[in-house]
Symmetry: C2
Subunit: 166 residues, 2 copies
Amino acid sequence: MAKPRTLEPEQWELWNSWMQAQRLLARELDRDLQRDYGISKAEFSVLVTLHRAAEGRLRVSELAESLAWDKSRVAHQLTRMENRELVDRTEDRSGRRVGVGLTAKGRSAVENAILGHADNIRRYFFEALTPDQAAAIHVWSRRVVDRIEARCGERADQLDANQPIM
Amino acid sequence: MAKPRTLEPEQWELWNSWMQAQRLLARELDRDLQRDYGISKAEFSVLVTLHRAAEGRLRVSELAESLAWDKSRVAHQLTRMENRELVDRTEDRSGRRVGVGLTAKGRSAVENAILGHADNIRRYFFEALTPDQAAAIHVWSRRVVDRIEARCGERADQLDANQPIM
């Protein structure tokens, strides 16, 4: 490992501004989902993942893998969401939950929330950007992803350009 | 609330790239701290916060507030870090931990880790940026922070330009 060097003060300033921007942005988006749609960040993640799936249904193990959550977290979250009638379950013969799907109420909730979320992303993120800045951030984002993936020798998640990543 | 509008496909693509870049970047920085310095993200947050404080000591309540962690999380984290001899405690008469400070080992660990962290930020973040992109990201980050702060009517945390935000 080469001897590490510290950053220049203006580099720390950029880094800190950028970290603060992303943290405030994430906080505002989460708060708005909760306030406008009554949906927590965790609920939105589950609903969006189901909404992308064929017919809005997944096996619980697939959902857990897609969210990168452990099983007990998924189980607790789904129980709460079943109680709110946002999702329903498929059981095996012994009554164990094996699959989960959007209810009509869940589908309607997530479709409204995605639209509101998109609107908030536009207000907080895109309306603060000039086209040149957008292009610069896009190029840079892709380069960061490429560099890290090349280093890790792994593929990142497949992206669907029309769906939010949470 | 005006009727929400969705994003254009190229806007979703930029947003998704940006979210993925920041997530991979955070993951790599955390992994490198663990691998190169044996320090978790939570430990680094505690050590950096103490390192910024006068003489490397804080009241436990000040530390909890600065990290925005609840008391039980702080207490568990500090117990682990006392066992690793990274921090030591000040007790009140009843033996309750009231203050916490860096040990010599903790100070040395955090100073090495900050330097390594800075080096990693340079490699992953700055080396992927042209000066024009850096300027664009800096202007945009400050604008996002200003917009959100104006909307919230609150001051964000004071920034120290020479310290990492975790």
